[in-house]
């Protein structure tokens, strides 16, 4: 028992260690969204888990990887703030610093087929889950929504992995004119599992639909993660006291029901803002 504990402690401390990660390639994925391929020694993440990414001189931010293959980690990042804009400006040969992976990812061992629903850059952990599900030989459909066709993510990649692909754009420039939720809602009943990531309002509707139909649903949610290891209290989901960085970021629909999820968002130092 003592030996188990020592191994466990060592594993935990390993995930705390800052690892340098060299950029080996950068890819323009869509308008304003870039992927970096990084060579790193961190442990293979489960799809849906996240890593903390530090750019010295800037902040350290949580990112859920969009792929992992033999020591190469792919991070897909939208330039939305100072740190992410800096990440976009980095070139192959330059370095980032990474610790993790942390949290609970998607459970891909659930039985049956999977409907994957992604909105905007929420597609990152979803496409990684799609890779791993296909490797397990599972039946997968990919619903991707974005504002316009220039912002759609991983359509070609999903097709390459032989997933059924459904597209929704707000402006109707490609596929269904409307949101990914509207497309997904009609499909959910045909699936045993739903995995979803994207804007909270979309995820909330998916959660309600899955609860109504009794379809197993795992949702990756976003909160203000600062320490990543469950001590700082920044990402707590009221009133259940769930730490998104430790008990999440992936939750089953039943766990999210009757929480602040879909209603408001608690920022440090405890300010509540309505869900956008």
């Amino acid at each position: 028992m003592l030996r188990n504990m020592v191994v466990f402690l060592k594993m935990f401390l390993e995930t705390l260690k800052m690892c340098k990660a060299e950029i080996v390639e950068d890819v323009e994925e869509a308008e304003g969204i870039k992927s970096l391929l990084l060579e790193t020694s961190i442990k293979k993440p489960v799809p849906g888990q996240f890593v903390m990414v530090w750019v010295p001189g800037f902040e350290e931010i949580p990112i859920s990887p969009s792929m992992y293959e033999r020591n190469v980690l792919r991070l897909t990042v939208a330039a939305v703030g100072e740190t992410t804009r800096k990440i976009h400006s980095l070139k192959p040969g330059e370095r980032l610093f990474i610790r993790g992976p942390y949290g609970r990812g998607f459970n891909l061992d659930e039985k049956g087929n999977f409907l994957l629903v992604a909105g905007g850059y929420g597609a990152a952990p979803i496409i990684y889950a799609l890779h791993e599900l296909r490797k397990k030989g599972k039946n997968v459909a990919y619903v991707i929504g974005a504002r316009s066709k220039d912002k759609l993510l991983f359509v070609g990649e999903a097709k390459k992995f032989n997933a059924e692909v459904y597209i929704a754009t707000d402006d109707g420039s490609l596929g269904f004119k409307g949101s990914a939720v509207e497309v997904a809602e009609k499909l959910i009943a045909k699936y045993d599992n739903v995995l979803a990531c994207g804007p909270e309002r979309m995820l909330y509707k998916i959660m309600l639909k899955c609860l109504e139909l009794g379809v197993k649903c795992q949702i990756s949610i976003e909160r203000y993660i600062k320490c990543g290891i469950g001590i700082c209290g920044s990402c707590v989901l009221d009133p259940k006291g769930l730490r998104v960085c430790s008990e999440g970021p992936v939750f089953y629909a039943e766990e999210l029901a009757n929480t602040e999820f879909g209603k408001y968002y608690t920022y440090p130092p405890g300010i509540k803002k309505p869900t956008e």
């Binding site: 466990f8 402690l9 935990f12 401390l13 705390l16 260690k17 800052m18 340098k20 903390m52 530090w54 010295p56 001189g57 902040e59 350290e60 931010i61 370095r95 610093f97 610790r99 600062k226 320490c227 990543g228 290891i229 469950g230 001590i231 700082c232 209290g233 920044s234 707590v236 989901l237 009221d238 009133p239 259940k240 006291g241 730490r243 608690t266 440090p268 130092p269 405890g270 300010i271």
Partner: protein, 303 residues
């Protein structure tokens, strides 16, 4: 039959393990989880300040071989939020101790009164934050000032006043002044001021540069401090610092602590570690023939 109950002044604890300030104590929902899921003896909230504090930019934690160094930056919604937070905590038998980090004796007293009015069972004066200017160690290492703050708070409060001191050369003097000014207990120690530099980034990792080291590395230092305090003061001592299992907790009792607080081990092992430690203490006492925690307190000082 082993009895795990302990008293710290007027506080009655069903077990001698306390949740130290800083971890899981910032919102009512995490406090409620600790109450529902564990046998915790008492809970100390995250420190409340006069104004809300967002805390530092990330990175706020850094790894070392010796443990975790953190500089969260006293993130809290400001003391006025205590009213709502305390009213949302489920009724239970674990006393709720409100931690306060202020910058003047008057501020400490006002926040303490507010906490008392809104149902706090005790207050802990954080006089030892290792990484926030004007809210910490500078105060705790000046024994006269410690006495002044405790006196001011004691004179307006009915509930117990606990003083949390950090590692300084004058910690025993500060504790003596606190005792003389009417403190009901002393908790020691806080995390220890540190810097971690990444050799590839060639920069300090923490945005605040300085942080507080916690974890196993600071445990023997904390035991030394508790040992010294026990020789010098009469009021109960709460031992804090690097407790990861029941052995560390028992060591604190033997050094002179009446109760033991834990924090960063929860990040490593999860909430279940609280009950594991309590069970370990229980089994140790049973096997070694002790009925009450008080029989262990200070035993290592024996003649």
């Amino acid at each position: 039959m082993v009895n795990l109950k302990v008293s710290i002044s007027k506080l009655k604890l069903k077990t001698p393990i306390i949740l130290a300030s800083g971890v899981l104590g910032s919102s009512y929902s995490t406090i409620n989880r600790v109450i529902r899921e564990t046998r915790i003896g008492a809970i100390v909230t995250k420190s409340f300040t006069w104004e809300p504090r967002v805390g530092y930019n990330t990175p706020i934690v850094a790894y070392t071989k010796a443990g975790i160094v953190n500089a969260v930056g006293l993130t809290n919604p400001g003391y006025r939020a205590l009213k709502e937070i305390l009213s949302n905590i489920v009724k239970n038998d674990a006393p709720i101790v409100v931690s306060i980090a202020a910058s003047t004796p008057k501020e400490y007293a006002e926040i303490a009164s507010f906490a008392e009015e809104n149902g706090a069972d005790a207050v802990e004066l954080n006089l030892s934050c290792p990484h926030v200017k004007g809210h910490g160690l500078e105060i705790g290492q000046d024994p006269e000032y410690v006495g002044k703050i405790v006196h001011e708070v004691r004179s307006v409060l009915k509930i117990p006043v606990i003083v949390k001191l950090g590692l300084t050369d004058r910690i025993v003097d500060s504790a003596l002044k606190a005792e003389k000014a009417g403190a009901d207990a002393v908790s020691a120690i806080n995390s220890i001021r540190s810097v971690v530099i990444d050799v590839y980034a060639r920069k300090p990792i923490l945005s605040n540069i300085y942080g507080g080291l916690s974890g196993p590395a600071i445990h023997p230092i904390a035991v030394r401090v508790v040992f010294d305090l026990y020789k010098n003061i009469e009021i109960p001592i709460i031992g804090i610092g690097g407790v990861t299992d029941w052995v560390d907790a028992v060591e604190f009792f033997l050094a002179g602590a009446s109760a033991v607080a834990i924090a960063s081990v929860i990040a490593v092992k999860g909430l279940k570690v609280i009950d594991e430690i309590i069970k370990g203490i229980e089994e140790y006492m049973d096997k070694e023939g002790f009925q009450k925690i008080s029989e262990l307190v200070g035993l290592a000082h024996g003649n």
